[in-house]
């Protein structure tokens, strides 16, 4: 320990402390929102299926208004096209984090991103 003290200079301490803070900061920012691994698609009260997010894939899901076009692209997903009137679901854009939800009420289709652990049980919106 004494040897260590004699070797480490004030600048070293400064660099070590700054790096440690940076590491803590990285953990806080990058681990607070865990990227999702799976996508759960539901239509009305049916679960259409769960899909791996790490792929590039186009899905066509049928709802009361017609076909909604969903695209999965390497870790993220979005409504690409929807037969609904307001296109709120399309405007939601890409989802990539656990717990994110996009719902198309008119066509009764919901996308929910899941991972190893849900950050919450339900979403207040």
């Amino acid at each position: 320990m004494n040897k260590l003290k004699s070797q480490a200079l004030i600048g070293d301490i400064f660099i070590i402390v700054t790096s440690a803070i940076a590491v803590v900061f990285l953990f806080k920012t990058l681990w607070s929102n865990v990227p999702a691994s799976q996508l759960l698609i539901r239509q009305a009260d049916q679960i259409i299926g769960t899909y791996d997010l790490e792929q590039t894939r186009e899905l066509h899901i049928h709802g009361p208004l017609g076909e909604s076009h969903i695209s999965i692209e390497q870790g993220k997903v979005r409504f690409k096209q929807s037969p609904c009137n307001h296109q709120y679901c399309v405007h939601q854009g890409w989802l990539n984090r656990v717990g994110q939800v996009a719902i198309c009420l008119p066509n009764q289709i919901s996308l929910q991103l899941i991972g190893e652990k849900k950050p919450y049980d339900s979403l207040n919106y």
Binding site: L4, G11, I15
Partner: protein
């Protein structure tokens, strides 16, 4: 016809540097062969040699040792031009660039420990950039960044301390 002979007269320093390079290659290969407890995270003990050479013989020599180590090890391991090699090279290049800047830090306040930590971070950063751009081009990698950063801090520190003790001998 006259025989032409190229004669090299290696100095004592040359011998010493060559030995150190050989040691760096050995350490690099050894580390590659042993499985790491957390895949992708490696102590990078060969960097101790780079740092040692930097302090003793200057930046130019250190750069040679480091790059020679990367190329020679990959040839020995048979992964030349493979992703592993590119990762190693990008890490080495960015860490050399950082060391080139860091060597101008005032020696009174910053010892080789600082250089080691900075180089370790640069090494990790260089590798992560390649991973993100080339190998796994999506956001999933960001999840791993904190782990790699923590490893860089710990191993950078340990390697720095070891190097400092070697230099003091």
């Amino acid at each position: 016809m006259t025989r032409s002979t190229i004669s090299i007269n290696p100095t004592k320093t040359d011998h010493h540097v060559a030995k150190l390079t050989a040691l760096a290659i050995a350490l690099h290969v050894l580390e590659a062969v042993f499985p790491s407890p957390l895949p992708g995270v490696k102590p990078g003990v060969a960097n101790i040699i780079t740092l040692f050479v930097l302090i003793r013989y200057g930046f130019g020599t250190a750069a040679w040792v480091s790059l020679l180590r990367v190329f020679a090890s990959s040839l020995l391991l048979g992964n030349f031009l493979s992703p592993t090699f590119v990762l190693s090279l990008s890490g080495a290049l960015l860490s050399l660039a950082t060391l080139w800047l860091a060597q101008y830090l005032p020696k009174r306040y910053f010892s080789v420990i600082s250089l080691s930590v900075l180089a370790a971070f640069a090494h990790t950063l260089g590798q992560l950039c390649i991973v993100r751009i080339w190998l796994i081009p999506h956001a999933g990698v960001s999840y791993l960044i904190p782990i790699f950063a923590l490893a860089a801090l710990i191993f950078g520190l340990i390697n720095g301390i070891i190097c400092a003790r070697l230099l003091s001998k």
